[in-house]
């Protein structure tokens, strides 16, 4: 799967016979056993494993839900209630799936902001990073269509609002919308095609995830210092070190997940979605799921419909250009004192945008959304390019090992070997 050639030789005769015909065991060995992992990774680097787990969990729970769910406008709501009431542990599977979407997004946002903070998107990981952006966009499409399936009030009206956005596109907009709807308004054909696509997209995500992992194994993982692995002393083999750490992190994440599922299963959803879809009655506030709120705020900040749609999509597409917009030679924000400040301002702006997205679009909420939207884009278009030229980064450690062993704190001139005392217990 990558440059570092595998020295893997199966022990059994059958293993060797098979390996010479399909070297899949060697692939797994080089990718998930022998693969060198920077030894200084923090728990922020466990979110990749958590996300892989969540993808599998969503697919598995989703497959079971699809056995009972009926994608028909007249029966969808009822079939979900059938799952909740009559199917054995149906309530558990559905709450796992519904809350799982939110957990998936919590994990992906941490993963994305970890990447922003430590400059993981920079060379030589641009393709790896762009594949990640593609996964995020696919996730958003999947989550949006999934929320339509229960065919409650928020499903229906959320679908109406979001699909209508495409009508802003000049010339072809109306045609695109009628293809999305399968008619002249959101209705049974819309539900049918959304169900089909909601089942399809996760497997496309899985495919891009495979590429994402492949692209990861070429340059290897970034790390909190942002400097590459220079010698074997900087790294540990994936198994057992990263494996056990990832498993532990996944289980801790599962505790968090379980808390929502068992104690607050409806908190992250909308009460309105327990009312069957009714095209004749519009809910008082049409609000998307929490994970779309920052983008929803950007959409509504622009007074023009087409402008709002462009701004909303641009807010994500601009991520693709980050490796080139960021002119700093230093990857990790830990060594960029000025950027560190701007990074946290950016995080705050994203959170405020999220909150504004949940408010009605009136009064000063609109003005605040506009200010935040301008700042959001300024972060990419002004802060990132300019800081690279004007900022004086802190000195980087010579190696990952040195940063771990605290040579810098121990005083200049201390030989690396002096502090790097082996603590191996065997």
């Amino acid at each position: 799967m990558s440059q570092h050639s595998t020295t893997y030789v199966p022990k059994s005769a059958f293993g060797q016979w098979f390996e010479s015909r399909l070297p899949v065991a060697g692939l797994v060995h080089s990718s998930f056993v022998a693969f060198p992992v920077p030894r200084n990774l923090t728990y922020f680097w466990t979110f990749g494993a958590i996300l892989a787990f969540m993808l599998v969990a969503q697919i598995v729970t989703g497959v079971f839900l699809a056995m009972y769910y009926t994608p028909n406008a007249a029966m969808a709501f009822q079939s979900v209630e059938h799952i909740m009431r009559d199917v054995n542990y149906g309530w558990l599977i559905r709450y796992l799936h519904a809350n799982g979407a939110s957990m998936f997004f919590i994990a992906v946002y941490i993963h994305i902001f970890r990447n922003f903070y430590y400059g993981s998107y920079k060379a030589p990981r641009e393709v790896l990073y762009i594949l990640g952006v593609i996964i995020f966009i696919l996730m958003m499409a999947t989550a949006f269509m999934g929320y339509v399936l229960p065919w409650g009030q928020m499903s229906f009206w959320g679908a109406t609002v979001i699909t209508n956005l495409f009508s802003a596109i000049p010339l072809v907009g109306e045609t695109i919308v009628s293809y999305l709807w399968g008619g002249y308004s959101v209705g049974n054909p819309t539900l049918n095609r959304f169900f089909s696509l909601h089942y399809l997209l996760p497997f496309m995500i899985a495919g891009v995830v495979a590429l994402h992992i492949w692209a990861l194994h070429v340059p290897g993982q970034n790390n909190p210092t942002g400097i590459p692995i220079k010698s074997g002393k900087d790294a540990v083999p994936f198994t057992p070190y990263a494996t056990i750490k990832d498993i532990f992190a996944v289980v801790v994440f599962l505790i968090f997940f379980a808390y929502w599922v068992f104690y607050m299963p409806n908190y992250l959803g909308h009460a309105d979605n327990y009312i069957p879809a009714n095209p004749a009655v519009t809910p008082a506030h049409i609000v998307p799921e929490w994970y779309f709120l920052p983008f929803y705020a950007i959409l509504r900040a622009i007074p023009d419909k087409l402008g709002g749609v462009i701004a909303m999509f641009a807010a994500i597409v601009i991520w693709v250009f980050m490796p080139w917009l960021d002119t700093s030679k230093v990857r990790s924000t830990a060594y960029r004192p000025t950027y560190k400040f701007f990074f946290w301002v950016f995080v705050a702006v994203c959170l405020v945008l999220g909150w504004l997205g949940s408010r009605p679009a009136e009064g000063w909420y609109v003005i605040a959304s506009q200010i935040c939207t301008v700042y959001y884009f300024a972060h990419f278009l002004i802060v990132l390019p300019v800081l690279g030229f004007v900022e004086r980064p802190l000195p980087l450690p010579n190696s990952i090992l040195e940063s771990v062993m605290g040579v810098q704190k121990g005083g200049a001139g201390m030989p690396v070997g002096a502090s790097a005392e082996p603590q191996s217990k065997g």
């Binding site: 990558s2 440059q3 570092h4 022998a34 060198p36 992992v37 030894r39 209630e81 909740m84 009431r85 309530w91 558990l92 060379a123 030589p124 194994h217 340059p219 290897g220 942002g226 590459p228 692995i229 220079k230 010698s231 074997g232 002393k233 900087d234 790294a235 540990v236 083999p237 057992p240 056990i244 750490k245 498993i247 532990f248 289980v251 599962l254 505790i255 379980a258 068992f262 104690y263 607050m264 299963p265 908190y267 009460a271 327990y274 009312i275 030679k329 230093v330 990857r331 009605p360 009136e362 009064g363 000063w364 070997g417 502090s419 790097a420 005392e421 082996p422 603590q423 191996s424 217990k425």
Partner: protein, 294 residues
Amino acid sequence: MMKRTLLIAAAVLGLSAPAFAAGETPVPPQLKWSFQGPFGTFDRAQLQRGFKVYREVCASCHGLSYVAFRNLSQPGGPEFSEAQVRALAAEYKIQDGPNEAGDMFERAGRPADRFPSPFPNENAAAAANGGKAPPDLSLMAKARTYERGFPWWITDVFLQYSENGADYTAALLNGYKEPPAGFAVPAGGHYNEYYPGHVIAMPKPVSDGQVEYPKNEAGQPQAPETVEQYAKDVTAFLMWTAEPHLEARKRLGFQAMLFLIVLAGLLYFTKKKIWARVGGEVEGHATPPMTHNP
């Protein structure tokens, strides 16, 4: 600088004032529910009383179409006996058919039947109720909520407050008051303190003493026969109809949390032990991956 800050603050307050005035709906009081919290369970007697209120008051207009008679005897609910449920179901007329002759017919209800709706269809329900069909109550306790506001929407997560719908429903049933002076209630509407906009189509549904509660040994009703108590009991019942597996969910949740926490603890020490091997000289190898420039 200070002056400008004050000006901005004044502008902000000025802009938000109309929004506040428009929504002067009081916040529903947070009641004490037996089913709240991580170990919450339903109070069987309360659910049975609540069912009685539903049946004698609400059922004349509101359906309960996702609930079957058999649910009433299932664990985690009102837990009527199976014989009681059979007798209860038999009191209802269910339309069935077509039979061998091709005719629809009416028969006595069976435990497997769902509660029949009080109206043959939605249009009939709307026609009989001033143009708006009374909503089905099966999911009512989850389908309504009220705005919590900052910082409560954060603390709710930690304090596990998820009874928004129940508190709102109980408040609504208690919310029939005389309209304030100058508030014109349109014809066919009724003033309700907690209903958004204050004009609700449903008239005050229940009055003190209207539903007779079962008596205890002393010959007294087991709970006060007041609107306040009726509201509480029927809301608890509706919470159960909306979330019939609530008890199983919380019970399984405790087991799952316990299992996961112990597992996480074991994994933590395993991880520590494995990582203790990593000293200055890393065991194993690690061929550096493709080198790249910092």
